[in-house]
């Protein structure tokens, strides 16, 4: 939507990962992983637990240094970037962590307003209003702003975390398991939210999820990870036709089938 974003659309991809190798101690997590995320799409990483989805996400958001390979975000190489150089980039993306990662000593409103106070010159009154708007946008009731994270339910905490992630109107949003641990109703609320964020704000979204319903409903393209390698990338429909046994198991296991049938019914 912004000028920078439109420039990006001309050059091709928002995130470009090439030949990525990462390691946790001695355990190899990724071997020669490559993928790219296009502007304005909802891109999802899937795979069994422990296959390195979250690690890949952490490498892209500069919380983990890969051993080798290149990661370009908005066309800029992020591997080996110093904190100072990374700051302008960090302002352009928001992250929603798996367990919320809300600051427990601050209220929800303070959690969101902290980001705005750090990075903008807006007046406190306007910040308070924008914060209330973000809280409303994520579907939280207005009185949730004055509450502390430990007073919220799991679903509300996720929404609050999302409100903080979109505080600065980022061009790129990372979601780590946005629906994990939520009841189906809250989860489908998140589905809608993710979709409308992309449609209205023009965000590019990269998420990690196990939620097949969420994938069928929102994801434009999906990459399947296994043992640190990317088995395939494509839309859900394309992937469901792939021949790889693991991919087939993923999509045609009992849960996969149910979610796919649901998706068909909706169409």
């Amino acid at each position: 939507m912004s000028t920078a974003n439109r420039n990006q659309q001309q050059s091709g991809s928002v995130i470009d990962i090439r030949h990525l190798h990462t390691r946790y101690g001695k355990a190899v997590v990724h071997e020669d992983a490559s993928l790219s995320v296009r502007p304005g799409e909802i891109f999802s990483l899937v795979g069994a637990s422990g296959c390195g989805k979250s690690t890949l996400l952490r490498a892209v958001i500069m919380l983990l240094q890969p051993v080798s390979g290149s990661i370009k975000v908005f066309g800029q190489e992020v591997v080996g970037l110093s904190d100072e150089e990374a700051l302008p980039l960090r302002r352009r993306y928001g992250v929603m962590f798996e367990r919320g990662a809300l600051f427990s000593s601050l209220t929800v409103a303070e959690n969101v307003s902290m980001v705005l106070r750090e990075h903008t010159q807006l007046s406190q009154a306007l910040i308070d209003e924008v914060v209330a708007l973000k809280i409303a946008l994520t579907g939280l009731p207005a009185d949730a702003g004055a509450k502390y994270p430990n007073e919220l339910s799991g679903g509300m905490r996720k929404r609050a975390s999302l409100a903080r992630a979109i505080a600065l109107d980022p061009e790129l949003l990372f979601l780590d398991e946005p629906t994990a641990g939520l009841d189906p109703l809250s989860a489908s609320g998140i589905d809608e939210l993710v979709k409308s964020l992309r449609d209205v704000l023009g965000l590019t979204i990269m998420m990690v999820t196990h939620d097949l319903d969420l994938l069928w409903r929102t994801a434009d393209r999906v990459a399947v990870l296994d043992k640190g390698q990317i088995l395939g990338t494509g839309s859900m429909t394309e992937l469901s036709k792939m021949d790889h046994p693991l991919v087939r198991e993923y999509f045609y296991g009992p849960r996969g089938r149910a979610a796919r049938e649901q998706a068909w019914k909706r169409k």
């Binding site: 409303a136 946008l137 702003g145 430990n150």
Partner: protein, 380 residues
């Protein structure tokens, strides 16, 4: 920030004294980073009493939720001021969707207000909290006593491994710091005393001074304070973090009492470790005094030890060491109790840890004073 990324607007007003119409022409990037310069002026413009208002948004190059909110707020304020018509024209279709989304959510977007607490209510709440805290502490002591008695009846239920582990961390690993500080304390006392005693030619009494002060009073107190700071706080933080992570609840569901697993081994281990540490502190403290006496007052080590046998009776040593188990119970109980009081946030773990150290040192000193009185009665 380049000029391109900043929001701007121009105003054209009607010619009459009270302008009948206002045109606001917005340009540039109305984004969270760009709207800061226009925020104040736009608030001022929104206070005009114009009847018709047109906001020309055709030249807005970028719009995000913050920018859209500012537009929405301006429109709302103008309408509230009594403007007859307020229109936004020329907004790009995708920006218009955004503005509609913002307008739709604006009704529910009320800035959160933290409830204010009056002074009197604050005092009341604090008093109430203190009372709850006190009964909680009593209940905790009672529970610990019951667990202790139960394990006396069934000695096989005592968990030896955690006891040994706590002996290692709270006892053995505290040896260097306790020894060093006690040694320095002995040095200081001898040094302070030497000057006074020399004036009377009573050099040899430095042995009485160091021996009695260290054994009766200082090393039990010093050791207890070090252990409260080292281990009491660590236990409060450990149990507090476990409480927040629902680990305590998990223990209960598995059928393992948290008291049995977490509290009792700590109390028992400290009851063993603290007297031993106190003895160690006695020794290093006296050595400190000895070193200083030989340097400043020419009292040889041999002479010092000979005099020590006369100056310090066995009962002096025992009064000092006998306080240690009581201090141990205080430190372990307070540390664990404060850990269990943590709730909710990382903040609360930090608070309870601080409270545990302050309370246990306070109670140790109070207990020490009570001991002095009791020993005085008993003429020990």
């Amino acid at each position: 920030m380049t000029a391109r990324q900043v929001a701007r607007f121009e105003i054209e007003t009607g010619t009459a004294a009270v302008p009948a119409s206002v045109n606001i022409r917005c340009t540039g990037a109305w984004t969270v980073q760009g709207i800061a310069p226009v925020e104040q002026p736009l608030t001022a413009v929104a206070q005009t009493d114009a009847v018709d208002c047109v906001i020309d948004a055709s030249a807005i190059s970028a719009l995000d939720t913050a920018g859209a909110w500012l537009l929405h707020r301006t429109v709302r304020t103008l309408e509230q001021r009594g403007a007859r018509t307020v229109r936004i024209i020329g907004l790009r279709p995708e920006f218009n969707t955004l503005l509609q989304l913002i307008t739709a959510h604006a009704a529910t977007a009320e800035p959160a207000v933290l409830p204010k607490v009056s002074l009197l209510a604050g005092i009341g709440a604090q008093t109430w909290y203190s009372l709850i805290h006190l009964t909680g502490m009593l209940a905790f002591i009672g529970e610990s006593a019951i667990v202790f008695l139960r394990s006396l009846l069934h000695p096989r239920r005592i968990r030896w491994l955690p006891i040994l582990h706590n002996l290692q961390t709270a006892g053995f690993e505290a040896l260097p710091i306790t020894g060093l500080l006690s040694f320095l304390m002995g040095v200081v006392i001898a040094y302070q005393g030497a000057d006074q005693l020399q004036q009377f030619g009573a050099n040899i009494f430095v042995v009485d001074l160091v021996g009695l002060a260290m054994l009766r009073e200082l090393s039990p107190l010093l050791t207890a304070i070090i252990v409260a700071g080292r281990s009491g706080s660590a236990w409060a933080a450990q149990i507090g973090t476990m409480k927040i992570g629902e680990e305590i609840d998990a223990l209960r569901t598995i059928g393992v009492g948290p008291q049995e697993l977490l509290v009792q081994p700590k109390i028992l281990a400290l009851i063993i470790a603290l007297p031993l540490l106190t003895v160690f502190a006695d020794i290093t403290g006296v050595i400190g005094g000895m070193v200083m006496a030989s340097n400043m007052l020419d009292i040889s080590f041999q002479l010092f030890i000979d005099r020590l046998e006369v100056a310090v009776s066995l009962s002096s040593f025992l009064t000092g060491v006998s306080k240690a188990p009581v201090f141990a119970v205080i430190i372990a109980l307070v540390g664990c109790f404060q850990g269990f009081q943590a709730s909710g946030s990382a903040d609360s773990v930090g608070r309870q840890t601080t409270v545990s150290v302050v309370h246990s040192i306070f109670l140790v000193i109070v207990a020490d004073a009570l001991f002095s009185i009791v020993f005085n009665w008993l003429e020990l």
